[in-house]
Amino acid sequence: MSGATFGTDDRSRLLVGTALAVVALAVVSTTIFDLPVTAILTVGFAERALQAAAPIALAAIGGLYADKSGVFDIGLEGFMIFGAVLATAFTFFLGGEAPSQTNLWLGILGATLVSTLLSVAFAVLLVRYRANQIVARLAVWFIGLGFGPFIAVLLWGNRNSPGLTSMNDVIVPGLSELPILSSLLRNC
């Protein structure tokens, strides 16, 4: 699962291949299927792509730690669910339906701490009690799928929490003045 090492040769070949495939896909979709590619590839598109990529990238960094140590963590999804529901719950307890920015950050901090404690308990189960790695990680996923919505229903009577305010934009002085990237980075 891990340790697939590419030589530079393989890597550049892979890169060229991927680039060619993307170009081919673009050509085919514009000519045969008549997709308005230019209308799709806008700044807003790039912005939303970055937004959607953020949680995936964060989870992937977590998965990287597991993968580097030789285990394949398919339980990430479970801990992500717990993190999400806990962050929302903490924020809700701190600030109700109109939380302040501090409440939001505290919510994230609290969720991270509790999720860490949960994964320590899980690690004890894996190491001390020698649980089967893949099976136990699958179980974490199932537990998250069950107890995540369960907690939500207990707190809000619904699988969906009420809408929360979002984070304010963080403006990084140097980056927000770059010519093309600025419109992209300013709103993320």
């Binding site: 189960l125 974490v140 199932f142 069950g146 107890f147 919505p149 369960f150 207990l154």
Partner: protein, 377 residues
């Protein structure tokens, strides 16, 4: 490796496998029971902590799963699908291949069944004979399509060094996306407001016996048991099955005794996909009668992983395991109607069961600590 050597190696492996199996069957059964009880107990504690009545919850669980004929029929409906999908998972896990793509293969199979039956129906006679023929052809089409869909990640794992866990998980999304697209557009029934295919003709259905439930026929459960028997025989009595099981125990030993590891991976994934196809066909014909957006057909393929793990990937163990999970599913739909306890709790309990099954050491240590002489053996 000479023939004599290889047959001796096989003999040795055979005896070793026998011993491992003998030792663990009882132990595994006790482990499964202990895990289930412990998970239910934790569930009851959570119910109590959340401010509901745990005794009433437990009563609902039993009433909703086997309380009356209606509940039993509903339980058997879930059990039927979980048995077949569970077998599909068990085949792969037994051979050491992690097929997490049973959900996708199940969707592809079910959709193929409906499309095939709708396409063939005009050329076949109506009535019982036509109905039976259509069901047979529909199921065969599902077996072929889902088998091919399962073989794909198998081939990529065997010959292109792909990771089958990632491949199969991703192919689930591909199946759901593509079938969803087709049901939405090209195969949507005429004048259907919802993204559903046309309904299957009335005569393409199994007769209502024993239970009077329009979504279930006991014959479907019989089909599931037939699949269990077939797969059990294939795994225990045929050379292919033997090669698969030995590969699962130890890849190196299997290769040493002359097993072509790559071919076994492809065979395993194909067989697993074929069984998932049967599950899809049974679901499409008996339960739904048409095909809808696969994002909403139920996660039988994922629940099947839990079923198979609880059964220690033993085909015969899949039947009681899927009875348990089918009962829990059935109880969940009963509870959602008759009480305000959040039903998601049931999914969490299923997860806890799997977690404890993965941790036999926990029970072993607990048994030693309390001096009970081993709750799990």
């Amino acid at each position: 490796v000479s023939d004599a050597d290889s047959s001796r190696a096989r003999d040795l492996l055979d005896r070793a496998a026998d011993r491992v199996l003998d030792l663990t069957v009882l132990e595994r059964f006790a482990l499964a029971a202990a895990s289930t009880v412990l998970a239910l107990l934790i569930g009851l504690v959570i119910v109590a902590a959340a401010g509901y009545d745990p005794v009433q919850f437990l009563r609902f669980v039993f009433e909703g799963s086997f309380g009356d004929a209606n509940a039993t029929a509903r339980t058997l409906k879930f059990t039927t699908i979980l048995t077949v999908t569970g077998i599909a998972v068990a085949i792969a896990f037994r051979a050491g291949v992690f097929n997490l793509g049973v959900q996708g293969q199940f969707v592809v199979g079910g959709f193929t069944t409906v499309v095939t039956i709708l396409w063939l129906a005009p050329t076949f006679p109506t009535g019982t004979v036509g109905g039976v023929l259509l069901m047979i052809f529909g199921t065969l089409a599902a077996i072929v399509a889902a088998g091919a869909y399962g073989a794909l990640p198998g081939i990529l794992k065997a010959y292109a060094d792909a990771n089958e866990i990632i491949m199969t998980i991703m192919l689930n999304s591909v199946a759901v996306g593509v079938v969803g697209y087709l049901v939405e557009g090209a195969f949507r029934g005429e004048g259907n407001r919802a993204p559903n295919t046309e309904r299957l003709p009335e005569y393409v259905s199994l007769p209502q016996l024993v239970y009077d439930n329009p979504d279930f026929s006991i014959l479907g459960f019989a089909v599931a048991l037939l699949v269990v028997a077939l797969v059990a025989v294939v795994l225990a009595q045929t050379t292919v099955g033997y090669d698969m099981v030995t590969s699962g125990y130890q890849q190196a030993a299997a290769t040493f005794s002359g097993v072509d590891a790559k071919r076994i991976i492809v065979t395993t994934m194909t067989l697993s996909g074929m069984v998932a196809g049967v599950a899809g066909a049974v679901f499409a014909i008996i339960i739904q009668g048409y095909y809808s957006d696969p994002a909403g057909v139920g996660t039988y393929g994922f629940d099947a992983i839990a079923v198979s793990l609880l059964a220690a990937n033993n085909p015969l163990g899949v039947v009681p395991a899927s009875l348990l999970f089918g009962g829990l599913d059935s109880a969940a739909s009963y509870i959602s109607i008759n009480s305000d306890i959040p039903v998601q709790l049931i999914d969490g309990i299923v997860g806890l069961v799997v977690l404890f099954v993965a941790t036999p050491e926990l029970f072993r240590m607990a048994a030693k600590r309390t001096g009970l002489g081993g709750a799990d053996r």
